[in-house]
């Protein structure tokens, strides 16, 4: 069930250049079904900025009924959000969307998790759940440059982890796909989240393989009512074949959605 709640900010820290980790406590936590779902956060009580900001759930702590998000403070809204202090409240709507099906990978199988930039966060909770299930997990994480890298240690604790930076200032130089090719990494199940070009590159390589991609789209409502976030489906005939990223996604089987 979707709730709107003034959640308590338990912790809020800057973990890399412009990257913040915020832990939120409240009833929404109970409603979270799985990794890859997101919340819609109002960054100001006023009228500017007006729209909520969609942010993925990066990890969940049901005992403390809190979850963590990791976001980049770049524009107007996220910068405002980053000024909030522990014990302040945040107006959160969620949980929203359908996340990554952890069950798609069976115990003993190998899952490849590929994340780019602010696409990395949702993979963390996914990796934890896959580990619990006994799935072997490999991570390939791509960032712009060293100062933007986050959570590389946390991921390393969960499985083999490769970091790639565009300028080579951390890990190997290049894109995540370069790493995957060089190391020719094997897997049974693929999970990925990141910028469209990265997802496209993965789709080309692994079309037909078992995999799930998490998409981004500019959103209005976040709950399926405004038709802001639609994409054509690959099989789509005009006017019929479309999905809404906010409610049908943001996670889709590889090849299902036309990546524009």
């Amino acid at each position: 069930m979707i709730l709107q709640e003034q959640m308590r900010i338990l912790a809020h820290r800057n973990i890399a250049k412009d990257i913040f980790e915020m832990t939120l406590q409240g009833n929404i936590t109970k409603e979270i079904k799985g990794p890859g779902q997101f919340v819609h956060i109002r960054t100001s009580a006023g009228l500017d900025p007006l729209l909520r900001r969609p942010i993925s759930i990066a990890s969940v702590d049901t005992d403390e009924s809190c979850f963590t998000v990791i976001y980049r403070a770049e524009g107007k809204g996220t910068k405002l959000l980053s000024e909030k202090k522990p014990d302040d409240t945040a107006d959160v709507l969620g949980p929203l969307g359908n996340g990554f099906p952890a069950d798609a990978a069976a115990a003993g199988e190998t899952a490849l998790l590929v994340g780019g930039g602010i696409g990395v966060p949702p993979l963390y909770e996914l990796s934890k759940r896959l580990n619990e299930k006994g799935v072997r997990v490999k991570h390939v994480l791509g960032f712009e440059r060293a100062e933007k890298v986050f959570y590389s240690e946390q991921f390393s604790l969960l499985g083999e982890t490769h970091v790639a930076t565009v300028d080579g200032s951390f890990g190997t130089k290049g894109f995540v796909t370069d790493t995957i090719d060089r190391e020719n990494m094997e897997f049974d199940q693929l999970y990925a989240c990141g910028p469209i070009p990265m997802l496209k590159a993965l789709e080309e390589r692994f079309h037909g393989r078992r995999g799930y991609l998490s998409l981004e789209q500019r959103m209005g409502c976040g709950i399926g009512a405004c038709f802001a976030c639609v994409c054509h489906t690959a099989d789509g005939a005009e006017g019929r074949g479309y999905i809404k990223v906010c409610t049908d996604g943001p996670v889709f089987p590889i090849g299902k959605v036309v990546l524009a």
């Binding site: 909520r52 500019r218 038709f227 802001a228 994409c231 524009a260």
Partner: protein, 313 residues
Amino acid sequence: MKCLSVKLPGLDLKNPVMPASGCFGFGKEFAGLYDLSQLGAIMIKATTLEPRFGNPTPRVAETAAGMLNAIGLQNPGLEQVLAEELPWLEKFDVPIIANVAGTETEDYAEVAERISKAPNVKALELNISCPNVKKGGITFGTVPEIAAELTKRVKEVSTVPVYVKLSPNISDIVGMAKAVEQAGADGITMINTLLGMRIDIKTGKPILANRSGGLSGPAVKPVAIRMIYEVSQQVNIPIIGMGGIESADDIIEYFYAGASAVAVGTMNFTDPFICPKLIEQLPSKLDELGAAHISELTGRSWKKYEPNTNHCS
């Protein structure tokens, strides 16, 4: 709450608050959040004869105290709206206002005729003003003669009262309102969105794939209030007002300006529970104002008014 009930052509409203077209889909999503029977009415997403996918994305962009949208009238088409969306809404005790769109007079007419026969559709909202599809549309909304034509035609075929939705992208809003009134409109809804654009500094290109879009939200409220203030004094049909409503005070302001009911659009995105919240707040607002019934407030701001159209900062 008897103090909130409002009677308009075809519409018997528990209260004067309804979601605006395109900001509420066909109700399904919000039905998961609260009981839709609380609403005064529901203005459903524009329906066209054929299904439409609409415009490429991005379709929305944020602006100061507002947003731009260029959805492009995406909707499943008349058949599915009649077969699925409207029947599904019958379980709620709430009148539906069907927003009708098209590209030529005849598809407006066909949609109007058939959708007006749906049992829970109590009125039509003729969308002659949406600024976001490639053919037709906006011209209907900016040329009084053409708007009147279309209104006449739709009135001939509709079995329920017809409200015409006016575009603010026009110099003489009163002339447009009078034209559709003379053509037989039973009411007016206003305003639709203002044409606007935002350009992405990083790419140097418009943020919206459609380039321009419709501006909505609190930023446009003063434009809507002024137009309703002028139009409501020049026509004898009721006005459902909309544009940036985000508080009970805003609703009062719309009534003072001349509205007989209001619709909430963009703010449903910022606060999906806003409609029931505002409905709940209204009675105490009326007490504060010493009003026994909300309809008393309609047009209260007019007294001692000499038309104000030809004036220059």
